[in-house]
């Protein structure tokens, strides 16, 4: 009975959230674009008439037409189907990176928050800060250079997580530091709850919305980093990804030979993708901010 009741309240909560969120233009735009991309990547891509990873299946350098909506490349790939594969791989990579990074961030962030302002807590905080300011790109480039024979999507995700966890961990630490001082923590401690249980039952509900936003931001970051690694020729070459597409387009001087659609398609897709994820994430944060929600509810009551 309790389960059904909680599912019911969850449904009501989700409905209310959507009602609030769809009122904002930013969210509606971002959400629609994301839905389109998800459809392209996961539902449409298995129906590709030509395998985009193989070369020479279609005529070279064709401009946009009905048969090839985004033209073809010098390597004889259809750009549209190449893009559907790339979107799918970008989403998978983002998920892998975000999951691993958040897992490390949760451990480090909670630990730093739990130790608080003790010297050991300060030290962990400094380590987190160090990982924030170390220039990521040279280190990541070296790492993927020496591992380039073994690179695949999951490995790239793991490599990216080495640095991806630092910013979320920093946020999590400040959240934990904040809620540690509240009375309910004291109540929980004095009623004999173990530390792990306090984290999971008392702190997680506060931290979860922030982690969700960080998850989306990490997906954005990993898409950008994959494109960056790809441009340096260090993304996975067997798969069709955004970075690999840009790499070959630049390698064959696509722009200066007038085949602009080869470079423009991946660039525009990344732009649309990251902007819509960002818009969804800031709308969510607005929804999760109690001040904004209160004023919204007041407005609803007045009208």
């Amino acid at each position: 009975m309790r389960l059904i009741a909680s599912i019911h309240t969850f449904q009501i909560e989700v409905k209310r959230a959507f009602k609030f969120l769809l009122a904002s233009r930013y969210f509606t735009f971002g959400f629609t674009v994301l839905l389109i991309f998800l459809t392209l990547g996961f539902i449409l891509s298995p129906f590709a008439p030509y395998d985009p990873r193989r070369w020479g299946l279609v005529l070279k350098d064709l401009p946009l037409s009905l048969k090839h909506p985004l033209g073809t490349t010098t390597l004889g790939q259809d750009v549209f189907w190449l893009m559907t594969y790339s979107i799918k791989n970008s989403i998978i990579l983002g998920m892998v990176t975000a999951t691993f990074s958040i897992a490390i961030a949760m451990f480090m962030g909670f630990l730093a928050g739990y130790l608080g302002r003790k010297p050991s807590g300060d030290l962990i905080n400094m380590v987190i800060d160090s990982f924030c300011i170390i220039p990521v790109l040279p280190v990541l480039l070296i790492l993927s250079f020496v591992l380039r024979k073994y690179l695949n999507l999951v490995l790239i995700g793991l490599i990216l997580s080495i640095f991806g966890w630092a910013w979320p961990a920093k946020q999590l630490r400040s959240i934990v530091l904040d809620i540690r001082e509240r009375t309910f923590t004291r109540t929980a401690i004095s009623s004999g709850l173990g530390m792990a249980k306090i984290f999971l039952r008392e702190y997680m509900p506060f931290a979860l919305p922030w982690l969700m936003m960080q998850f989306l931001e990490l997906i954005n970051w990993s898409i950008g980093m994959e494109a960056t690694l790809g441009v340096f020729g260090l993304s996975t070459m067997e798969e069709a990804t955004i970075g690999t597409t840009i790499y070959w387009a630049m390698n064959y001087q696509a722009l200066f030979r007038g085949i602009w659609w080869w470079l423009a398609s991946p660039v525009m897709i990344v732009v649309l993708f990251v902007i819509s994820i960002y818009l969804v994430s800031i709308s969510l944060s607005e929804y999760l901010n109690p001040r904004v929600r209160l004023s919204q509810m007041r407005k609803e009551r007045e009208t």
Partner: protein, 336 residues
């Protein structure tokens, strides 16, 4: 005074810790990889057409092992790695053999640092200034338009922004030169022509990083301002009848600047990553371009050197920003 001293010591420990973590990561990568850097070098030598027998191969390999100190134990290697770095000796480059890595980096460093410093200064100042004003008048139409613009610009990855700029202003509307950091055919001199040439070459790389970074300063400053302007002390200042400009800059902006400076200290590294990528796309002769050269030539020593200097430069920059903080924040100077 005691609190200030404590702050300074803490920052200095942080500075050393960052460098230490960076160096350790670099060492681990370069030593615990499945590929031996000497094998890389040897295979490169043989692809260049050097005809050598097995004995010569082995003796060359041993010489290189000794030269790079790979025949010692791991802990000894780590110590000599640290020792070498502390004296600025990074060993010879594989691809420009026997030119030392530090000399190559020494030539590219000024371009990168110059670009980074310009970008950080412009984006931080302008972003915060506009952010504060638009946050103060958050209901005005222009303020909302600006917010929408930066909301769209801010999440774009640096590399994609750079490619976008190349497509727009070099291919579709060709108004900017593409290659290099200075015009070709003019000698380096303090002439107006040379100076204008440098600005024209640096403009697109700089602007593509500035637009994104400025977005992040603008958005956080705007949010902070909107938050702070409802505080009691601002209302009190209004009731006292202070001029609006004084409230905006003396009351609201001053309070918002503190988190922005801490934010700057933490994000110099991220901006540096962005400017490296941009340098490569625009063939700007900085560390990013050198990094690309090292990658295409499998020059692991040069790569490690660049990464080390990047870490050193960024942590120094961070330390510099953090030492500025006591000048702005009286709480650090006198204690709470």
């Amino acid at each position: 005074m005691l609190i200030l001293a404590k702050y300074l010591i803490k920052r200095f420990i942080f500075f050393l810790l960052t460098i230490f973590i960076g160096i350790t990561i670099l060492f681990l990568i370069s030593r615990l990889i499945p590929v031996n850097p000497i094998d890389l070098l040897m295979s490169k030598l043989s692809t260049q057409g050097a005809q050598i027998t097995q004995e010569q191969f082995d003796s060359t390999k041993n010489t290189f092992m000794k030269l790079y100190g790979l025949d010692k134990t791991l802990s000894r290697q780590y110590l000599s790695f640290l020792q070498g770095l502390s004296t600025g000796d990074l060993g010879p480059s594989f691809s420009f053999f026997p030119k030392p890595v530090s000399e190559l980096i020494y030539h590219s460093m000024p371009w990168s640092i110059g670009l980074l410093a310009t970008v950080v200064l412009i984006s931080w100042t302008v972003g915060n200034f506009i952010g504060c004003i638009t946050g103060f008048f958050s209901q005005k139409k222009l303020s909302k338009v600006l917010e929408g613009m930066f909301l769209v610009l801010y999440p774009i990855p640096y590399i994609v922004m750079a490619l976008l700029m190349v497509m727009l202003f070099i291919y579709f509307i060709p108004i900017f030169p593409y290659f290099g950091g200075a015009p070709i055919g003019i000698t380096r001199a303090f002439s107006l022509k040379y100076f204008v040439g440098i600005i024209r070459h640096a403009f697109l790389p700089a602007i593509s990083v500035i637009l994104i970074t400025m977005g992040s300063w603008f958005l956080s400053m705007r949010a902070l301002t909107i938050n702070i302007k409802t505080e009691n002390f601002v209302e009190f200042a209004e009731l006292r009848g202070l001029p609006r400009r004084k409230i905006m800059f003396g009351y609201v902006m001053r309070n918002c600047l503190l988190p922005q400076i801490t934010g700057l200290a933490l994000s110099v590294g991220v901006i540096f990553t962005g400017s490296l990528v941009t340098e490569y796309i625009f063939a700007y002769p900085g560390l990013g371009y050198l990094m690309y050269y090292a990658l295409t030539n499998a020059d692991l020593n040069l790569m490690t050197g660049i990464a080390f200097f990047a870490i050193l430069a960024i942590s120094t920059g961070t330390l510099f920003v953090e030492l500025m903080l006591p000048l702005v924040d009286p709480r650090i100077r006198y204690g709470e």
